[in-house]
């Protein structure tokens, strides 16, 4: 029996009206789990519910058993500490060096002495291959490096879960493949569970253990399984079209 780290039960995702309804799935410890679907189908919206930015319109989400909404402050704080997030744009603090960026969570949530925090931050940057750039500002490094630095910051407090929103957006295929390798490396060495939103097929086949696919028209989760299963055995035209890169209404 594998350990379940995230449970999503009957969730309606949306802002005021649901964008997708009735989503349920589990994410197991140590897996790389991908949420996929066409643009605007509600992937980011679902992710925002999972990381506690917006409450889901219905249903329940638990991270390591803890909920983020409608619970006492301690439970929410505990739930928040289970995960790290990198946002689509990286969201590094522009006025700080990479090292200082990684130090922010360490400064706020640990009472390690200063040299220890610096060392931890340096080691996190080493983990993502950016130790040499510790004193650079985010504006002085490339997009791929910014993504990696954001991952280092997300990993600063050793979260069990790492959420990534379209990590490969705007990256060239080689950089994107390097990022995939980094995500695998983190999973293998740090034992972190990765939940990522992406529609990069190459990345999905390279690293995803399991995925769920959301559909914009049907407003629900239409498929769950490993990438190969979905590609080869799905009955649904929408799923097959996605995995075989076909246009839905060929003209």
């Amino acid at each position: 029996m594998r350990e379940v780290v995230i449970t999503v039960r009957d969730v309606d995702a949306g802002y005021t009206t649901p964008v997708i309804r009735g989503i349920s799935f589990d994410v197991y410890a140590g897996e790389i789990f991908v949420i996929l679907g066409g643009s605007g189908c509600g992937k980011s919206t679902l992710l925002k519910h999972m990381i506690g930015l917006n409450p889901p319109l219905a249903g329940e989400i638990r991270l390591m058993g803890d909920r983020l909404f409608g619970v006492p402050q301690e439970e929410r704080l505990r739930a928040l500490r289970h995960f790290g997030v990198t946002y689509q744009s990286g969201a590094l603090f522009g006025s700080m060096t990479l090292l200082e960026n990684v130090c922010v969570p360490l400064d706020s949530f640990t009472d390690l002495p200063r040299e220890a925090r610096y060392l931890v931050a340096e080691m996190k940057l080493e983990l993502v291959g950016l130790k040499e750039y510790a004193d650079y500002f985010p504006s002085d490094i490339s997009g791929g490096m910014r993504k990696r630095a954001a991952i280092a910051r997300a990993m600063a407090l050793d979260p069990r879960i790492l959420f990534l929103d379209e990590p490969s957006a705007g990256l060239d295929p080689v950089t994107s493949a390097e990022l995939d390798r980094l995500i695998l490396h983190l999973r293998d060495t740090q034992g972190v569970t990765v939940v990522m939103v992406t529609h990069e097929l190459a990345s999905i086949f390279a690293i995803a253990d399991r995925c769920v696919m959301l559909d914009k028209q049907e407003q629900r989760l239409i498929a769950t399984g490993s990438p190969a299963e979905l590609r080869d055995h799905s009955e649904l035209p929408a799923v097959r079209a996605f995995f075989n890169r076909e246009a839905k209404n060929p003209s």
Binding site: G94, L112, A116, L119, M123, E126, L157, D158
Partner: protein, 362 residues
Amino acid sequence: MEISLPETCSAAAVAGLWRSALPAVARLGRGDTLELDAGAVGSCGGAGEALIVELYRRSARQGFDIACRDGRGVVARTLELFAVGNFAEDPAMTHPPRKTATAVQVGEAVVGIWQTICEQMAFLGEATVATATLLFRPRRLRLRDTLLHFERAGIDALPITLLIGFLFGLIVAFMAAATMRQFGVEVYVADLISIGLFRELGALITAIILAGRSGSAFAAEIGTMKVNEEVDALETLGLPPVTFLALPRVFAATLAMPLLTIFAIGAGLLGGAVVMAALGLPSTVYWNRIIKATTLNNVLLGLFKAAVFGLLVGLVGCAQGLQTGRTADAVGRAATAAVVGSLVLITIFDGLFAVLFHVLGI
């Protein structure tokens, strides 16, 4: 000596160890042995890994030996993941907090001021050229934008301008009347209000309102566009940002100022009237005095100054916006600099005008 790592090497668990054990480790030297017991460690976070790396790099530096009990291979895994040699320096030394000597700061500030002056001059030049170009091709002026900014800087500012003008007139009249009454000449309060508002204060308070409301907004709007690379986009589309973004705002501010000033002065006169009425002076007497004391010279002077102040606020706000850096806090600094810069320039120009008009005898 001996250090045993706890079962869960989280930051919280390691912090105490770091403070209590490391000072003793610093005293170890060649020939000593540190017994590191990692046998109990189940999970090891970044802080635990950092402690292991720290111990091993100190061992390399100070020459003591480490006898490690590493039941589940946590230490070996950490050392495999992080080459200790990579972290040979004291991180606090390699990344010193960004502090600079006072002399350097002073020097940088002076250079900064000089650069600001140069940039403002360059912007002024560009704006002048752009305006001159507009004279020949008036259709390149963004009329809709100009009207929009006129509405925001002018019409939307009416309530606050009226309120402050009114209160200003009220307060000045009240304070003056209290004194003048002792001499029985409170009717001259009207002269004071008229000359004061038309010649000096009307334009000044309106300019301060404009700088706070719109100068900062100009800088923040353009600054945010700069951060979002929208300004670059204009440039590459062949639309000079000065013509496209700055001129509509500058024109709007220059136009709005005299009009707002008229309203501020009107409200101020009303404020004076309220005080005089409260003191029992018939309002016809008050308004008669106002009309007598108000000269065309003073009115035109005030409006001229208002237009110049509006021009200054617009120019400084747009210049600061276009010179914004690339970060979010740069936008905030640009807005602040726009307000401060406008106020300083307004004060300087007000002084210059006072001297000039005195010399010219108007």
